[in-house]
Amino acid sequence: MLSLKEVIISITNRCNLRCRMCDIPYEKNEELSTAEWKKVIRDASRLGAQTIVFSGGEPLFREDIFELISFTKNNSLNACVTSNGHLIDQQVAANLSASGVNVVNISIEGMKETHDFLRGAGSFDKAVSALANLRDYNIESTVASTVSKYNYAELLYVLEVAKEYKATTVRLQPFNIIFLKDSARQSEFLVDKLDIQKIENVVKRFIDLSKEYKIFINPESYLLKIPAYLTGKKFYPDNCGALWYSCPINSKGDVFPCWVEGANNKLIGNVREESLYGLWLSKKRIKMVNTIINNGCQGCLMSCYDEAFNHNFLKKNIFNKFKKIKKIADCQRVINKVRQSLKSQITKFKLRYRFYTSYRGSLTSILKRRLVGIFNKTRYPEKNSRGGKEAILLEINQVKNKIKKEIHSL
């Protein structure tokens, strides 16, 4: 079982923008106090989490946000803030820098007109100036976009913005219905099936350009699924990691197995009534997660589990590609593709290997150790190995005899 890695706190429902794809600000606002959130953060630290993500609404609306961030940092956790950038002027950027925040995530949807159309007039300029202010104070910034019918053509422009303001990462996520109250409006954002080729081309160019600019993005296999998803297809990962390692909490303090299941009223509990520590380790949660995995989930393609797709990349996709071969002429093309994907995996492996050797010794010594472990199990003396209960009782008896012998020898 995976342990808790990140806690995503939707700290408030208040927001200064009324975006087209999100109805959260219209929901009833009920917030926990500073002390209650601090307790949650401390519990997260006790559970071994690494990151707290402050989201919302607009998290900077909370007056105590800087206090909570520095409290998070003091508990040796990483703090990450997701914002629309409206409130980040020089003063706020200075406060964020002083609080020790690790990453600030700003949403950019596309060019100025599109962004302003989706998020309200003037919001693009504010978001860009926020990126500039963050850069001035040396705070790591990342950019996020919600891909939909309106902005898929402008994804490359988002990369340009990220490059100009030295954002390290661009994360894409397709539009998702869970943030809307009225599910009839979903069709407004989906793409016509005839346009799927267009989006695919954009995503491929997006991947290439990000490599050129050295900007991190979601795993490629995840991005390549976005076009099909936007035409209405659902994707089910084998085992969604987000259920095991991330913990969403809304502004009321309700803890869900994941955001999407939360929208279906599946609730683990409330941090006001029970501590996060107890809730996370409770049998109720584990049972709930197991039923979701066994009975199938909504197939949401949210970016929180994009790693799950990455994991399956080599295993499945290569074989799928070979299955598709019908003509001999296709062979060369498929082999090229496989070679490319192998190349990217190899560079990843190289980086990992470099880290591994610096810590664990050279490759030959690692292999030697592994082989010795397999073929020659008795090489290490089994001095401290403890068998079952009986083995220990036997040892106790031996030891007793030893003492008795000593007594007799007196």
Binding site: N74, G361, N384, S385, I396, V399, I403, E406, I407
Partner: protein
């Protein structure tokens, strides 16, 4: 420590780990009063975490009162940050002396002048440790800060002089962290320290903190490569040779394990943490053994903190830890196997000349203690 008490404690550690029940109290209690420090050493990131927290003196006193009532042999080590940055440090030491506790202090020596050295010597400590990371000024200053070497040496000189005048006082020891920068000078430190009049020298290999573990570049900065490991081998041979004839150096574990530590070949069979041996009280009052915190001394007594479900969870994580880290204080290697514990007990009895009657009594007491644990095990 009387032999039967040590035997009893070792048995308690062994069976608490086995049965996952807190039958034993900690052997080492580390007390970080605050994380403020005068230096920013390369291998240490403690200043960056828990900024702004200070352990209140009233809380410390309450903990000391509770500790004094324990029927257990343990050591309290005051670390930090730099403990002498606290204005009330001598008040704390005085209180500990009053309650008859065994206290050690670890310092970098930057704040110890003649006046403070005299105060330290007469404060009833059992041990004062100064960190010294190189035999040469450049090495130590490279690892710590410019001028740090001179200050550390001066501090040791003041302490030794003050102890001579006073006649008695704490053991004056030096702690050395083994890393890439100083691997060639480990043996040279012995003669330097011996000339100064230090009574004890402890080496411990650098442990890259969890926070820095993800940072590959910081790993490479301290970690030994193949070439350095050969150097380390030579140094260990020389040090072991010296230790046989002259003492001074105290090995907390087999020094040849250092090589395995740096090669990354240390297995759980050679070195294993006993999760009940060590506990750290942070400046925020939280108890930690390794990783997650499990109780706050501001909210409940220390004894209760050690028995929370969080503590059990943290110990489970420690027990299943895949990477033994060779921290000097976090294990009790003697209590690692039952046969070992008995052998040590019988060996210790042989050292002193007991009368036959007394010896028999002690051995019978040991037998009855074993029987108690046997019962406990059978019940599980």
């Amino acid at each position: 420590m009387s032999y039967i008490k040590r035997f009893d404690q070792d048995l308690a550690y062994y069976f608490s780990e086995l049965l996952e029940q807190p039958l034993a109290k900690p052997l080492w209690i580390y007390l970080s009063l605050s994380h403020r420090c005068t230096y920013r050493c390369q291998m240490c990131g403690v200043v960056k975490i828990l900024k702004g927290y200070e352990l209140d003196i009233e809380d410390v006193k309450r903990v000391f009162d509770e500790l004094a009532s324990w029927d257990w042999d343990f050591n309290i080590v005051i670390t930090g940050g730099e403990p002498f940055l606290r204005n009330d440090i001598f008040e704390i030491l005085k209180y500990a002396e009053k309650t008859n506790l065994k206290i050690e202090v670890v310092s970098n020596g930057s704040l110890i002048n003649q006046e403070i050295a005299e105060k330290i010597i007469s404060s009833g400590l059992s041990n004062i440790a100064i960190s010294l990371d190189g035999a040469q000024e450049e090495t130590h200053d490279f690892i710590r800060e410019k001028g740090a070497f001179k200050k550390a040496i001066e501090a040791i000189k003041y302490l030794v002089a003050a102890k001579k005048i006073n006649g008695f006082g704490p053991q004056i020891s030096v702690w050395t962290t083994i890393m890439k920068a100083n691997v060639g000078e480990l043996y040279d430190i012995i003669s330097l320290v011996n000339d100064l009049g230090v009574e004890c020298l402890v080496y411990h290999p650098v442990v890259v903190a969890q926070e820095d573990m993800q940072n590959t570049s910081s790993q490479a900065r301290f970690w030994l490569n193949e070439n350095d490991i050969n150097k380390l081998k030579e140094q260990i041979d020389k040090i072991v040779d010296y230790q046989k004839n002259n003492g001074l150096v105290v090995f907390i574990h087999d020094p040849y394990l250092w090589i395995k530590h740096f090669k990354g070949q240390l297995t759980k069979k050679e070195w294993k943490c006993n999760p009940f041996v060590f506990v750290n009280i942070g400046p925020d009052g939280e108890l930690r053994s390794c990783g997650a915190a499990f109780g706050n001394i501001k909210e409940m007594p220390l004894n209760a903190c050690l028995e929370t479900p969080e503590a059990a969870q943290a110990r489970k994580v420690m027990k299943n830890c895949a990477k033994p880290c060779l921290q000097t204080c976090w294990a009790n290697p003697e209590a690692d196997s039952l046969t070992n514990i008995i052998d040590i007990f019988i060996h210790d009895l042989g050292k002193d000349k007991f009368e036959k009657k007394d010896k028999k009594e002690l051995l019978l007491a040991a037998l009855s203690k074993l029987a108690v644990y046997e019962e406990l095990l059978k019940k599980c």
